[in-house]
Amino acid sequence: MPERRSPRTLRDVSHLFLSGTEHGPRAAPRSTVCVWIAVVGASLNRAHCAAGVAAAFARQGMCVSLLEVCRGLPNIGYYFGMEPAAYLAPALDRSELVSGVWNGEVRFCFSADAAAFERYHGEDLPPGAPHAIVVAFSYPPERAAARFLAGLRSAAAAVSDEGTALGQRPPDAIIAVGCRESAGRARALTTGMRDAFPHAAIFLLADDANAGRAGDADEILALPADLRASWARRLPPVDQLFGELTAGLLQVVSLRRRRGSGHAANG
């Protein structure tokens, strides 16, 4: 088994990611990164991945808002240790919106209906800390994709405090999760997302590294075979994969922002 390197922490990349320090910490706007997790097929555990990514961001000192369109169980409520009556509510009533806070670091909400997120008014974010918005869903959506994706952008805008254009917050990065059986759909997903969000960094997590070869992902990471060992635990997974993924993602997003602001300054 190949040896994994220690994941980079927020401190290692914060000089790239955080901006506006010339104004002093009080005046600096909160840095926000918006990440979508699109899981292809029900055989991969969407909530497990989402909870792992959210917990990894929290370990890196970020405050996290996690939204999940949970069509199919388990959902993130299972991994954040909610009582069955709470986490199963959207399974019995599609319009039900359930929310909570995990460890004071991750505020989360989930519903089977993306439109329900309009009703979500989460806890206040701690001042100063960078903010990660994580939106998880299964792909393809059951109904009109364009409307569904617009709903996700609106949901992300609703939990963002940075001020968004037209109430829409597009993703900075998209994590596509696929398996060998769904390789074709995963490639279609990355290509479609590239067309829809050309400025977003696209990562592909696959149990077969060849699954994304013909796709349009910027980076491809292998899903460890032993990741599913923690599926049944009612806790967010703590696999090194998530630390490496979130650190790499922050670095890519920060470099793109720097390039973007550099072009703007030169132009």
């Binding site: 097929g41 029900a42 055989s43 069509r71 199919g72 169980l73 388990p74 299972y78 069955p84 009556a85 199963l88 399974a91 019995l92 398996c179 060998r180 059986e181 149990d207 075979a225 599913r228 060992a229 923690s230 599926w231 049944a232």
Partner: protein, 115 residues
Amino acid sequence: MRRTDRGRPDAVAVLALARRLGPLALRRLFVRFCHEVSRFSDGFEIEIAPFDLVLRDSASGFSVTVSPLRELFLVSLGESRSFDIRVSSVEGCTSALDLALAAYLAVASKAAPAA
């Protein structure tokens, strides 16, 4: 026993079986329970028998048997059917779904991923 296509349950067959239940609310819970269990994974198949239905995941070997009676339905986890969960209310359905999900995840986490 009739086996339906892989993936989504045969909705018509499930609805037909649900009619054995008297209360309409319980019929809806029965259908919802079968629907949610069948979506645990892409590999679930549904087998319809005269008096019950079996939801089976071919990848992990996990199965759930659901038997509608008049005022309740029974949920049995695994092939041994060593115990039944009696469902006659939303609370009962919640317990059955929670136990079924936990049992499925425990089985699936031990099953080797397809090579």
